[in-house]
């Protein structure tokens, strides 16, 4: 492909916390059910990995924070490396989405929530043995009580929405 006709890669400078942090940047509209089924399938595969690598295990999180096992560090570290290489390839070769759109990247702006909220989440992560993704996989694996944890997490998110303007950012 001729380099000259390559479109510049879009980076949107936006970090108003009002916006979704994991946004849908696709221009083309999608139907609610049929188009979203592919994300359901991707989620199923992802959930299987979560369970089979025992990332959803409360013990693995304990081992990580006690520095007794390399497993979780290996998982997160190698995921980041593969993610970095993929993003680099997408940018370098301007790889388009399935709908032939340019991939959009967002720049995250620092705010103090990254620190305070990060610490709060860390405390909860070690207690529940789960970040939000594994919460869903734990429920699917038959740990029914985790439904209560998930409901409480939704309540926590709601409380953040309520108090947001009064919190330091």
């Amino acid at each position: 492909m001729d380099n000259k006709i390559r479109k510049p890669i879009t980076t949107i400078h936006s970090s108003l916390p009002e916006e979704c942090e994991a946004p849908n940047n696709q221009m083309e509209k999608e139907s609610l059910i049929t188009s979203n089924l592919k994300y359901l399938i991707l989620g199923v595969l992802f959930g299987i990995v979560f369970v089979k690598a025992e990332i959803i295990s409360w013990y693995r999180i304990q081992e990580m924070f006690r520095l007794h096992s390399f497993h979780m560090y290996g998982v997160i570290g190698s995921a980041v490396v593969v993610g970095m290489i993929s993003v680099w390839l997408i940018r370098r070769f301007n790889i388009k989405t399935m709908k032939d759109e340019t991939v959009v990247f967002h720049e995250k702006k620092f705010h103090w929530g990254n620190v305070i909220g990060g610490l709060i989440f860390g405390l909860g992560w070690a207690l529940t043995g789960a970040c939000p993704g594994p919460l869903f996989a734990q429920i699917g694996s038959g740990f029914i009580v985790v439904i209560v944890t998930l409901l409480s997490a939704i309540a926590g998110t709601w409380m953040y929405g309520l108090l947001r303007d009064g919190l330091p950012h």
Binding site: P17, E21, A22, N24, Q26, N36, Y39, L42, V44, G47, F50, V51, K52, A53, S57, Y59, F65, H68, H71, M72, Y73, I76, G77, A79, V81, V82, M84, I90, M98, K99, E101, K108, G113, N114, V115, I116, G117, G118, L119, I120, F121, G122, G124, W125, A126, L127, T128, P132, G133, F136, G140, S141, I144, V145, L151, A153, G156, T157, W158, Y160
Partner: protein, 189 residues
């Protein structure tokens, strides 16, 4: 083949597969990997309560809800069809530390001493389900993301605020396990 799949997957298989979620979501539909946002969409869809933070077109982000529903189904598939026949292997040092806190390591992915229905209405349930879950939901949204949005997606795109957030996730976790956790277990006992 099935025998191998049923064994626990090593980090060098699982990590790269999780990393591939980043380009998969970007290339399928220009979507950014981030799971905690699903909790916000659930609030926006079910209990917006006229709060400005929850007033947006959550249907546009409905893909994220399908994705987490998939994760739940993946949990069903993995535990029903691909479950490991052997007991979980936990490092001896962690096993010892947990036994000292009266949390015996049993054969499943989660300790039954904590994650059982009997604990729903006692202090264990209050700390591990109610408070723990609340901290996860409040903290991730305040931080602007969780392990997926910051640690994987954010670091993959070289966002330094995500590195700060990731370090704080870890700091919070270390503080819980080493400082707060022994105290909580002494209250419960």
């Amino acid at each position: 083949m099935l025998e191998i799949i049923r064994q626990p997957w090593p980090w060098y298989v699982a990590g790269p597969l999780i990393g591939l979620t980043v380009p998969a979501l970007l290339l399928i539909g220009n979507k950014h990997f981030g799971i905690s946002s699903s909790l916000r969409h659930i609030c926006a869809a079910c209990i917006p309560a006229n709060i400005s933070f929850f007033k947006y077109d959550w249907k546009k982000e409905a893909w994220n809800l399908f994705f987490v529903a998939g994760i739940l189904l993946g949990g069903v598939v993995a535990s029903q069809l691909l479950s490991n026949p052997d007991p979980i292997v936990v490092s001896p040092a962690t096993t010892q530390a947990l036994e000292a806190l009266h949390i015996p390591v049993d054969n499943n992915l989660m300790p039954s001493a904590i994650f059982s229905v009997e604990n729903l209405l006692n202090l264990k349930g209050l700390f591990f389900f109610i408070i723990g879950g609340f901290l996860v939901g409040f903290g991730t949204r305040y931080a602007g993301g969780c392990t997926s949005g910051h640690s994987i997606m954010g670091l993959s795109t070289f966002q330094w605020p995500s590195l700060v957030a990731t370090c704080c996730f870890m700091l919070g976790g270390f503080a819980m396990v080493h400082l707060v956790f022994p105290w909580i277990m002494s209250i419960i006992a």
